[in-house]
Symmetry: C5
Subunit: 250 residues, 5 copies
């Protein structure tokens, strides 16, 4: 798992909690109805926006993004080069029983072994790529939506508190604490949005780009294998996907 | 119908109402002129923005989005595979009397049976897809516009209340309640926008993507049938539209 | 003319005025210098942004959008089908003296009659479409700019009022009314932007899409006529532009 | 020069100054440290964002946009038609010594005279067009950046003033004037952004579109000349770039 | 190094510090817990958003953007023209031992020398270009994210301070200073975002465009060399990438 994510969430909350307890008890920032309005309101708005299984699916994808190790682009390039070598030496059938971990690469190689035309293989893999991007986008949009909705729910909570406070100004001593409680929902909304939802939304978007680039490598690789492209040309092409620092030789 | 939507709207309002009645009577948050400014102002701005029949049509589309069951991508793929089998066994005419529920698939198959060239069929279905997306976009934009306008109308209402309050500061005891009433329109605008209009706008956008993907499947499927594409190649291609978890065998 | 537009503008202003006069005289919301800053400032900024004739042209286009009746997509499709029938029966020259109302359709048919190659006709009509979209976009952007500038000018006016009020706090009784006046420009800016400029900008954008779709129909239609496309194929294609509810037979 | 621009800037400032001096001396709105923070801060941020020569270049481009007369699309079309006539009568070499004012048209014609293939000429002019758009975009982005930065610098100035005022609340009489001064930077930032930077950014963007359209005309024109396209077809095509009101005959 | 960047950062901070010390000691604007919340919170959110090595890589890229001298487009064009001359005189093998500084140009020329087909070379260089743009975009997005997060963290800090102040209003004399401290985090967030993160994000985006344009020149150049394009045509094409002022002869 990506250790930085844990450091980020835990560290961010620790910083805020430390800033609070330096001046006041933490309990002063804890308000159950306020939390219910912000968290509950955000969840409810999300349920309107998207069907429940999709929301749960997005949560699972987000979890995967944190716990699954991202496949390295370098490794898959090595494997493609190797497959290309085997197929040029032993013909396409030499690839029939090769064990390939990456689902998309396995799929493309199987199609090539089956003798399907190169452009149909490429079309199929491109559909895979487009539909993977769309599936991931759904999850990314859910978190972005939550990041936009949480501060709004915070503002709604604060407005409720302000209206109630203003309607009963009889006791001046109560104004301050009442307003403090009212502001708490804005605080909750901001923390949720800017420390949790927005960074996760960005992470998912970045992860999608990573997977899309991986599939792009697979598409170019399978196309090269299927067409029997000269190996050094294929290698030149695939290596171009890597940042200069990650290239072994060039 | 999508049960989560009802839970979302009812639950969201229940949360806000509960938060209110814990501290004050609900009636304190009910202000008819304020509601009229926010709801009425949003409706009026929407009437300027779009012709009445289009607005009503968008409402109907939104209703459909909530009540109609979305067609499953998996099912239509199965049907296309079946149609492909029939046409390869009995020729294109074998499809003449097949009952097809999906409007676009039926249309494409009829054109194939009529012997129209594949690329003209694909062109026609692509026009269908583009014009469906544009029609849906209109509805989506109306709700997005209302989601942006409602908070603005809330602010306009609050400004009216503030100006009136500030012009007659003679009675200090009246300031609080007057300001409370003024803030109510901002509250109405925020609830309408963030709990109703924005989530619905997002839902419509998502629904459009769902239908667009369905049409993309239909286009690839009809193209395959019309060209007499090898069945396993067609299946490989169409299955690529599904998320890995929804694929039967692969 | 589109009656909803008048209802929208008149109704929206009526709602706001009613909300005002329920609590205070309307004159309390009327401030000439404030109006001058907001309206004048917005006009001046628009003059910097765009040359005068273009601004006036955009106003005229906006007027047209309100008063001209939008051409129906269904009608033009019927006419294209009819022209296609005539040309297939009597040759292209049969179209020489047909009266065609739509400027772009007339142009395309004339080019087809003149024997110009199909792809050059399509290119020319596509240039027409692109340049119509760009011309309309100019108008649309002017109103969008005004919708963004008016609230800013309102804020500038309010800042002027606040600074003046704060500099002479000697008479506490004058603070309230002075601040009320200061807030009026923010009020003007919000009403102008959200009830007038933004809805009109959206309407113009929608109108542009309507005309673009019309031209797309014309392009496909003229292409079909010029190529002598089979009539039922042409009809299938053009009908795909209509929403299912507006199709006569299918 | 475009007289409306001067009217806009001078008139906008005059309006604001008039609104000020109706109630207070203009000097009350003049604060040197505040101006330094807003103007200086915006300039400094711009220097970080872009290299100095590029910023200065953008200023020059902006000046040009105000003082240079925009070339008329109609005129260049006439000239292209004329060149086309000459080349069809006297061969391409007849264009060798024709004086052509527009740089891009001259370049394309010279290439055609040199016998370079049409598609290479079109490629070259398209590179010219793309790189002109990119150069202009740089300037446009600088002004947009300044329009976003100026209000932020205004807010920073106000925050400085507010913090200083709040730290020494001992003299209540000083609060008002101190806060007035603090608000001045927000005022400066808003005026700079909404009356100067944003309208200029929009003007530059519009100007870029104008030049891009001009180059599009040149590209189609040179392509027609080089291919020896039928003159009436070329004229039909080029005239499509003009708005209907500006076409002489059609 | 680009001297303007140092002037910008140092000058911007100097301006703000000067504005502060004119009225109060600088220490009044120094608050360690506040700084920790804003800087620490922004760093933590960034760690959630992106893996640590990528963040560090982005910092390195940003440093390079400031310290590396951007390669001049003019120079590389000259070198390409020269290579083209050599290859037309001595055949492609004449380029075998030429020393080429630019990594991408060297790569393309080596592929041309190796006799790889032009379209494969172009494909490979285009992959290089796309993947360079994506790598740079990652860095650019990190700074943009920090520019959006810093003000939010500032607001969170201010909310903490406000809630604490409001909960203990017993001592009126403490309100002002407490609120001043609360506002400091908003101040920190605004300075970090608008004087540091946002300008750097824009600079990185601009730098990416610069490199992308350079690679576009290299692609067109290598294509020309590999195809043995006429030299004056190649020169015409490449010179089109330069702004008119930077062209030697034309």
């Amino acid at each position: 798992m990506d250790i930085a994510t844990i450091i980020g969430i835990v560290g961010g909350l620790a910083l805020i909690i430390t800033a609070i307890i330096m001046e006041s008890p933490l309990s002063a920032f804890f308000n159950v109805p306020g939390l219910a309005v912000v968290v509950g309101g955000t969840v409810m708005a999300t349920l309107i926006m998207q069907r429940l299984p999709v929301v749960l699916g997005a949560m699972k994808v987000a979890m995967n993004a944190f716990f699954d190790k991202a496949e390295q682009h370098g490794k898959i390039i090595e494997q493609i080069i190797e497959l290309s070598q085997q197929s040029r030496q032993g013909g396409m059938l030499a690839l029939e029983n090769v064990q390939i971990e990456n689902h998309y690469l396995a799929r493309g190689v199987r199609m090539a072994v089956d003798g399907i035309e190169t452009h149909e293989i490429v079309n199929t893999l491109r559909i895979e790529s487009d539909s993977l991007v769309k599936r991931h986008e759904t999850g990314h949009k859910i978190f972005k939506f939550m990041g936009a909705t949480a501060p709004a729910m915070g503002m709604i909570g604060t407005l409720i508190g302000l209206v109630q406070m203003l309607q009963s100004l009889s006791d001046p001593a109560a104004i301050g604490p009442a307003m403090a409680v009212a502001l708490l929902t804005t605080f909750y909304g901001a923390v949720l949005a800017f420390l949790i939802f927005n960074p996760i939304a960005e992470k998912l978007e970045d992860r999608t780009k990573h997977e899309e680039a991986l599939l792009e490598i697979v598409i170019h690789g399978v196309e090269g294998i299927s067409k029997g492209l000269n190996q050094s040309v294929l290698e030149d092409k695939l290596v171009a996907f890597l940042s200069p620092g990650k290239r072994k030789k060039d």
